[in-house]
Assembly symmetry: C3
Homo-oligomer: 322 residues x 3
């Protein structure tokens, strides 16, 4: 499931062409842009925060966009592209390799489902499927649903109505209620006066078995990495999950909760309604976050927090009594 | 309006079959699962919180799932099913009686509207209606709208586009703007490792006359009870109303407000944008709740509150000046 | 772009007919209802808050609905209609001039796009266009999209799927992701027992070049004035923009942010996720508002604020450490 790739480049690209200003042997070529962790020796990657030092040390990538300071952590045989603004360079290179990943334009392969290809799937009215879509047996797709090319869905899953899904892998026994928008490009760009540089999003959304996602949720696909909803995790209505967020197993996320990009949640986490989790945080296992909280720091396993900013629950109650 | 029932079982079920582990005379039968208040002598009910003691004393139900401690409040002739985890047992029994109420799968009766049946209703493009849908004269239905079986709608009501409605009764002169999802299953389940037990939702949504609901709102149907939006109450965009919430008459609910399950609001309540109301609360008449507040306690009639957690408005202003 | 008008009355109306209880020479006629600023000598306007004193002094309107106290600021030759409840009178008069502006009913001109008229536009499936819709070359419209009469859209713009747009002018190179509802009537009414008086909304939404609006956002059209999203401003998922809000250029608005009506933002403003901005505020240029903040006061240029209510960021951090 995690190895499915939506944006796949299959033609070798000379590194010298990607970086015309750098002196690089033009015989060196790469295929794809991947994370530090997932890169093979034919891939290019990036490294822009010391959070990812452990991944950097072990990366197999042929080449890495990074800055002077971080570059020392990379393996010797990894070609370093040293720049000042790593994400700006990443956006430019991604756009060169995957020119269609920065704007979600129309999937031209969309067609009404060929029922011979899906004899055991029930379809509502006005369903459109892209090419290579796979849907497991006994799954049900509602009305006015768009499932774009290469989306994979397991068996016994139920998709509601008025839904748009792309760049997503869905497991078995998943329920997605009406009005959800899943796998669209996330909120990523390099601010530039009068014309921002849009960050191409080449990741996907992974929705594991037994997940339930209620009405009008939005789950953006990952930028380079993936967005993940773990097994048996339930999301209530109007939850917003930004790019690269990883939610563990058996979590309960109440209505209108929002996650900024790249945060990671453990298993058995429960979050009350309207809480918000800032970007790039690590929330441990068995954490409980009270409704309306604003989480701005990492949270250790088994903690209970509440408040804005979120603090240990007992302290919050004490402060509230003042 | 409140007597309409969407999940109706019409074949007597032996209590002994529902509870094979209990010793129950198999000649005793029930028809439906109802609330303590609405049960007749042919119904089964449940009682899991002392909040509902007054209803328990007066219930006419033939049988009640409850725990040891609460069972003393039930009438003598009501058969008590004593269990440790009341909601877990309720979920299992509901699933037995109403096997299709725990996942919102495709309504197979959906068809384009037969205009002969609705001579005085205007329909947009791509409308789908289930069986037994009733729509009053001079009502207007937009485009890409799904109205599932047995939904009732009064006259002079205007439904926008890209909307999904099920298990709902709508009054006269109601306006529902585009993107709303109404009457879908709420966020209810018994957490279980790797495979939660979904709580079947057999209630409905009641939307009274002159209500206005703005774009992209989500209003879940009740679990056993109903979700209610009272007469002349207006909801702004992106409001989330969870199962069993009851909102009174003449209320004003601003954008992005969220209600957790089973709270009750009086009449003439106004709530500012992004406020949240926790579950199982009682908000009185003429209450004003400031924008962004988090309400975690009952609120008396005529109060003005603000803050997170919400406190009397004057105190909030005083605290803010510190 | 700003001069486009959706609700246009072209037949002179005698002022005496609009205000039968006032003694007005019946030969005086007006055409349209406009803001103080935009009124010409054939228009009627309203003035209900001292915030707009500067506009009142210079208005060219033939007639103005106002109260006793404010009326002194209006030009001598402007006919003053003095009332106690200005907005109540405005709602009644708007309803007389524009009887269809208070409920978003079905656009009867919607049709599948005539591809001969749009040779350079790509359309998905089930698109409906009203009359006089203009779409620039190389623009792309997704599936299940409704674009109502008189909407204008520039070139190279990409509209996702399951979207409803009306009363809106969209620039070039704009991206709108799936599930957005744009240009619908805002949340405005005069509260009245059992039957509120709906405020007709005759304004529009202006979306300037290079704007990006992510999934499931709602942007209401202006009431008398317009709602504006400035050039190169980006909105993340599930943002709610109420009527008459004006957002400047190059702003970044994160997920689930909400704006109450009639606030104005400068350029280069960035707002973190789930923050809320109250109504009728003025937020300066280069302001940064932290995630989850509740802004209830005007904010000066170059400020950084956070908190609920929002205060200077340094003070918020200091308070949080208590």
């Amino acid at each position: 499931m995690e190895n499915v790739v939506f944006f796949q480049n299959s033609k070798a690209i000379a590194l010298g062409k990607l970086f015309p200003d750098k002196k690089i042997n033009n015989k060196l070529t790469i295929l794809n842009f991947r994370t530090l962790k997932k890169s093979s020796s034919r891939d290019i990657t990036f490294f822009d925060s010391s959070h990812y030092e452990n991944d950097a040390i072990k990366t197999k990538a042929a080449c890495c966009i990074t800055n002077e300071k971080l570059s020392i952590h990379l393996p010797k045989n990894c070609i370093k592209i040293i720049v000042k603004n790593v994400l700006f360079e990443v956006a430019k290179i991604l756009k060169k390799i995957y020119p269609a990943a920065d704007i979600d334009t129309l999937d031209i392969f969309l067609k009404k489902p060929n029922k011979l290809k899906f004899p055991k799937v029930k379809f509502g009215n006005n369903v459109l499927l892209g090419k290579n879509v796979k849907i497991g047996k006994n799954s049900v797709i509602g009305n006015n649903v768009i499932i774009e090319s290469n989306v994979l869905m397991g068996k016994n899953s139920v998709i509601g109505s008025n839904i748009h899904i792309k760049n997503t892998v869905i497991g078995d026994n998943v329920v997605i209620q009406s009005g959800c928008m899943i796998g669209l490009k996330g909120f990523g760009f390099i601010p530039m006066k009068d014309k921002n540089l849009k960050m191409p999003h080449i990741g996907k959304v992974l929705i594991d078995d037994h997940v339930e996602i209620a009405s009008n949720c939005t789950i953006d696909r990952g930028s380079v990495d993936d967005t993940v909803i773990g097994k048996n995790t339930y999301l209530d209505n109007q939850v917003h999950v930004a790019h690269n967020v990883k939610i563990g197993k058996n979590c309960m996320i109440a209505g209108q909760v929002g996650f900024a990009g790249s945060s990671t949640l453990g298993d058995n986490v429960s979050i009350g309604g309207q809480a918000g989790v800032s970007g790039h945080l690590k929330i441990g296992n068995n954490v409980k976050i009270g409704g309306g909280s604003g989480v701005v720091k990492n949270i250790e396993d088994n903690s209970i927090v509440m408040g804005y900013p979120a603090i240990p629950f007992k302290k919050f109650i004490k402060n509230s009594k003042k």
